[in-house]
């Protein structure tokens, strides 16, 4: 465990990328950070895909896997915490490859900080959002706008969170997001206009840098 925050992280924008490809790239980044390289902050989007976390329950799928796949939505089991979630274009995925030795090896605090970045970001866009004790993720009113789930190897994090920016929310009807009886919302739905993804990424980097006390290059 280290006493100071890391100096730098490198931000990368992968654009629209296949989920498995992104996962494999993350795993290689984790190995690099374990070997001493600086952390990575990755932005990307995925074509429609359901990912099943380690706490996945069958009843969280509201349609059969066959029906879901017929709709063109891939399904993958993954090594992150949480239940099922949907990724789709318009949802900003933020993958954080970070050595948690710099953050007191505290998973709870790390998740809280990630949620705080999302809450502050949404506030900057005029959306009042909160993290709810006992429920991970970020909520705007009763609706969920950000889902979170991470993995950790040798105290290096991977996976991260997805913010619904301009996401087509109809696909969430396929599932109980995160196993919850909750409606999903998006920044576009709440603001009544499309939101520029580039603005969201720039703001995320600024707020993440402040909250995690790192320089992002």
């Amino acid at each position: 465990m280290y006493t100071q925050a890391p100096m730098d992280m490198i931000a990368e924008d992968w654009g629209m990328v296949d989920y498995i490809n992104a996962y494999q790239r993350q795993r290689r980044m984790v190995d690099a950070v374990i070997a001493g390289e600086c952390g990575r902050l990755v932005f990307c989007e995925h074509l429609p895909v359901l990912t099943l976390g380690r706490l996945f329950k069958e009843e969280s799928l509201l349609n059969s896997q066959q029906v879901i796949e017929q709709k063109g939505v891939a399904i993958h089991s993954v090594d992150r915490g949480g239940d099922v979630t949907l990724h789709a274009p318009g949802q900003l995925m933020v993958y954080v490859i970070l050595d948690l030795n710099f953050y007191q090896r505290n998973l709870k605090r790390y998740l809280e900080k990630l949620e705080q970045v999302a809450v502050d970001l949404l506030k900057d866009f005029g959306i009042l959002a909160v993290s709810v004790p006992g429920k991970r993720g970020v909520f705007a009113g009763a609706d969920k706008i950000t889902s979170i789930g991470i993995g950790v190897r040798k105290w290096v994090s991977y996976h991260g969170l997805g913010i619904n920016v301009n996401t087509d929310l109809s696909l969430f009807s396929l599932i109980k997001p995160c196993g919850l009886d909750v409606q999903m919302t998006s920044m576009a739905q709440l603001l009544g206009r499309a939101v520029r993804m580039g603005e969201v990424k720039r703001k995320w980097m600024e707020l993440f840098g402040n909250i995690f006390e790192v320089s992002i290059v």
Binding site: D79, G81, R105, L107, K108, I148, G149, I150, K154
Partner: protein
């Protein structure tokens, strides 16, 4: 003999569920190897072997909860 312990994961986290073991009883393992994966509500965490040796037994099986500071398995 060395115990594989579920480490501290953060304040307020008192237990985690074993998702899977990456090794079998009888396997030779090395200090620092990731031997099992545990999960809390939103995080998975890979537990490392504290020493080299042979995995003698698994104390907490997949689907069962382990307590922070408790023994997940034993290396001989």
């Amino acid at each position: 003999m060395n115990n594989i312990i579920l480490p501290e994961l953060g304040e307020g986290i008192t237990k985690a569920t074993v998702a899977c073991w990456h090794v079998k009883v009888g396997d030779q393992i090395h200090a620092g190897d990731e031997v099992c994966e545990v999960t809390t509500d939103k995080a998975t965490f890979n537990v490392e072997a504290p020493a080299s040796g042979r995995l003698q037994s698994i104390t907490v099986r997949p689907g069962q909860d382990g307590l922070v500071g408790g023994v997940l398995g034993i290396i001989e």
